[in-house]
Amino acid sequence: MMTVHAVNMYLVANLLLLLAAVGVACLRGVGGRSITAIAYRRQLQIAYVLTIAAVMLPSLSLLSQREDWLPKNAQIWSGASMGDATHSSRDTHRIGFSVASSEVSAPLYAVRAVTTGLFVAGAAAFLIVIFAEAMRIRRIIVDAQTIATRRRVRVLSSQAVRVPFSLWIPGVHFIVLPADLIVSPADIRMAIRHEAQHHRQLDTRVIYAYQLLRLLFFWNPAVHWLNRSIAELQEFSCDEALIGTRKVSPQAYCRCLLQVAESAVSQRVTSICVSMLGSAAGSVLRRRVEALLTRGVASNRRWPAAALGAVVLATMAGTAMAFSSTIQDRRISPEQAQRMLAVARRGSDFPFVANEPVVAQLNRLLGTPDGRAFVRASLRRMQEHEALITAAIAHYGLPEELMAVPAIESGYRNLPPSDDARRGAGLWMFIEPTARRFGLVIDGNIDERLNVALETDAAMRMIGGLYEHFDDWGLALLAYNTGERMVDEAMRATGSRNPWRAVEQGFENDPDYLARVMAMALIMKNPALIE
């Protein structure tokens, strides 16, 4: 179940990242025009918020959905699930379907394995690329000479670079300058201011988060685009902040940018450091110079940017909700249950029910790999006893839907008695006193509950008697599990002949028993669903 959730979260996150990228594109489109200018700082903030939302929203929406739809874990609470675990877990009355999960169909596994393999291979390749770049940058830093150290900032000079860049590792802020730049103090000051501003804006830290995103979503072009957009916005925002301080004249600043651009003949762009030219080609540089020289003081008002951001966020939240279960286990909706009900009722006057508890049990039995395996195994084992039981049912004139009872009681396993006397034995899980009441012999040598024919005969007499007493199949089945006396008591206490009311009021031995038998009966009438 966890993997399905993880895959869903991943798929939704991909979709949301695409939306975030679109949102950032709109933001830049609107905010870049001089009439509706939005400060780059704001644009950058909103871009961050959208990215965080894209990553966080899927988990939130899935968490809420999980509570609504799924029991904490799929467990069946009666003897039915004793299975192979009978002896190891006899202390607890609650036994999960754990052994059955390996029976999920093979093709699904194959697809899953291939997909996982591709994903891991791609991510690993991307990781290697990043690692190689990190090593290259490490080499540059080791070979560089220190020009100045101010608290945690180290300014380095390197012959290996043509463009200034900055890099943060925990505890140290590096600013690396090309060695050639040193002969021009004005440019050096400018470059240091620029890179220091990147450190101040935390760009050099944020970049790690975006590299992680690129790694996790390496195949999603929107993520790479978003990453590049963020890098550009960081540059614009940095330029804007420097010009805003009025210590730097736009003209001198542009000259410095051009100077750096000229000397950067072909320096490769690196991914974990923020370089002065940003990550892209000449067009961005041109736009930066244009923005520096022609853009007036951009509006620093919050609302236009915030409004735009909110619209995108709302769209993302909606998408997250809508697509949160792109991949589902085969969940049974109430409508589907109604269709099953209609099929079951055809040619049968057994009072089938598909109320909420039954739908919940249908989901446990059909919606989880464990449940499906359990149902399949039960039905397979049923074939062995089918002739005998159908004959007994016909002999006593009872409905064939009672075939569902041993499936739930024992999974059609002829279970030996356990140390816990309350648990019963055989296909029908008779407990000792009941077995004796219906004439089965149990002593040191023999336990007739394990004689399928004898126990089945006893069960027919018992169920027939209960139906005669209650004149309602729901009540009779409930009584088979909880005992006649408790059902009588329930009818008196609730003043109703509704077995579901009795269960609701706590007159039960196992709150899911009746619903589970009903669900099993419905599944037996709709065998295609388990194929």
């Binding site: 070979d143 000479q145 220190t146 020009i147 000079s157 012959q159 060695a179 050639d180 040193i182 002969v183 021009s184 103090p185």
Partner: protein
């Protein structure tokens, strides 16, 4: 960190080749011996107008690369070459032979004779050197 590793860097300074500007500074230091930053600045003028801070930075880089050692002198520092010009020439030539002349020194000499307009004095000196080396 830089100070501690200075000794190691001096041991193999040639690992880090000089930039053109750094070589300019080194030539001054080799020529005039131990000197202050200001003296270097003055020596470079008038054909090269470099700011005091630039020169100071470059000299400190040279120190980190192991080409220069500094000593406290009054309120300032005096810088002296840690690598002789001959050593630098030698290592530069070695690097050049390896990288440009396919590890074949003869090729270097041939190119030198091909292209350089050598005076008869130069040629005589070269001949004399070869004779000396051949003995």
């Amino acid at each position: 960190m830089v100070r501690k590793s200075r000794v190691a860097r001096i041991a193999q300074p040639i690992e880090k080749p000089l930039t053109a500007t750094e070589l300019e500074m080194m030539n001054v230091i080799w020529r005039i011996g131990p000197c202050s930053v200001l003296q270097v600045v003055e020596q470079l003028r008038p054909e090269r107008e470099l700011a005091y801070t630039s020169v100071s930075t470059i000299v400190r880089i040279l120190e980190q690369k192991g080409y220069v050692i500094s000593s406290k002198e009054g309120r300032g520092h005096l810088y002296d070459a840690a690598v002789s010009k001959e050593d630098y020439q030698r290592s530069t030539l070695k690097r050049m032979v390896t990288s440009v002349f396919d590890d074949t020194p003869a090729l270097l000499v041939r190119r030198l004779l091909d292209t350089e307009s050598l005076s008869s004095d130069d040629l005589a000196e070269i001949r004399a050197l070869l004779r000396k080396k051949g003995k």
